[in-house]
Point group: C2
Chain length 279, copies 2
């Protein structure tokens, strides 16, 4: 199998490293000549190019660009591909992309390997990045079964655990477990920083330990990534935020009313439920 990879960052580069180790021929495309050179040096691709034209003969193309560039890339790519070529992406939001890209290329399959590191770029690419990670595939009615099977085959070869769902289900689920936590956690930092008594703020910074560290971690992460989540998954992020606010308001009200037994009930239910999210 010949595999094309557009966008040689952390995900594209790591994908290339892994696929080459399975003896699949990989051709990488990046807008940057320097990135192409590094990808070749690091052994992430067999060949690298700055032109999408060089992907004419591949069987499957993985689009690993930022979300905003996925559909525009498919729009340019379609002039160079054979009709049977499968196009798939690795974007972290699926509904809009899957719809637009399918209208551009009938053999399109939405996908989302859920792996990453704090570092970005081809320099951070690594083998085994995808090992044991979830790989969500989001076919729609019109997605050809053979194309789905091929993406699944590659995902399994990466060592991923494959899940199938609709793009809508994907976007709602990742809003709960990935996008909402970023906003919830950022608001915690923002609120704490708003403390107007400098002695208290300095004391809070000195006393903060593992509880604050963990709860604030994702809210202190990459701001561009946070904006991207909110922008591209806006309806689901807003829905989960409004639901979250209702739950927060209930907790505030119970504390105002000193209804300790109801508050205890909620905290018991969250304690009981959390392990289900960790298995």
């Amino acid at each position: 199998m010949k595999i094309g990879i557009v966008g040689l960052g952390l995900i594209g580069g790591s994908l290339g490293l892994e696929l080459r180790s399975h003896s699949w021929e990989t051709i990488g495309v990046s807008r940057s000549r320097r990135t192409c050179e590094i990808a070749l040096e690091r052994g992430a691709v067999d060949r690298a190019s700055v032109s999408l034209q060089d992907l004419g003969a591949v069987d499957i193309v993985f689009i690993c660009t930022p979300i905003a560039a996925i559909a525009p890339t498919v729009a340019k790519l379609k002039d160079y591909l054979a009709p049977e070529t499968i196009v798939t992406d690795v974007g972290s939001v699926k509904l809009a992309t899957t719809q637009t890209c399918t209208s551009l290329w009938q053999n399109f399959v939405g996908g989302h390997p859920m792996a990453g590191t704090a570092a970005q770029g081809i320099e951070a690419a690594q083998k085994n990045l995808f090992l044991d990670a979830p790989y969500v595939i989001t076919p729609i009615e019109s997605t050809p079964v053979a194309a789905i099977k091929k993406v699944e085959e590659v995902a399994i070869s990466l060592g991923c655990k494959v899940y199938f769902c609709s793009p809508e289900e994907h976007d709602r689920a990742v809003s709960w477990i990935s996008h909402l936590p970023v906003m919830v956690s950022a608001a915690l930092l923002a609120a704490s920083l708003g403390e107007t008594n400098p002695t208290v703020l300095a004391l809070a910074k000195n006393l903060a330990s593992s509880g604050f560290r963990d709860t604030s971690r994702v809210g202190g992460g990459n701001p561009e990534l946070g904006v991207m989540m909110a922008k591209y998954n806006r309806p689901e992020v807003l829905r989960s935020l409004h639901n979250y606010r209702e739950n927060l308001d209930e907790i505030i009200q119970l504390i105002e009313e000193e209804d300790w037994s109801k508050l205890a009930q909620i905290l018991h239910s969250t304690q009981q439920a959390r392990p289900d999210f960790l298995s």
Copy 2:
């Protein structure tokens, strides 16, 4: 120095283990005979008793009971102590306790060693629990300087970093870094569990990884501890919750208005500020 410890749980027991290693004589009091036996077996105290009367000859008493029992313990204890005996507590909320206990015992000093483990009870007691932990001492106007110095001396001997502030400043600071995160994190779990589409909820549980795990950790902790924080630090917990809600509402509004540059500003500020809470 002869030291009394009332309440032989994780904190009282660990305190005893550490103080005995400094060759200070420690006398422990617990309501439970079995706990007294275990404390003796584990070497956490030199002597153990179920009666507060046995603390008549000590120089300083550490009250390590749950918060609700601190003031009642001081009220009982005062009949047995010499006037120069120092009484201090280790409770995690300071204002109400410090006021009440000082009115009961003039030589009272509020304190809060900020150490702990997930496990509870004398069985979980360990040496070095307090090493490098903050120890906040919260004197008020009337607290005798000599008593403050003595508590500081013991705190330093435990390997703690000592901070001094008013009970009000303590309660506000710990609300930001300890009590608010519990409510924020619990609301995240409660909101996610409220997802009405079972496919999405199951998918969310399967896809949740380190981001959700960290943000939900303290909200999935001991429910009794969460209720205790809300109950005994209610004004400060409500204040921080209302401030938090304003920050959350601003984030919701920016996403609704698609004001991505302002959202990016907030996320940049939280990213920049977080390291100050981790040093």
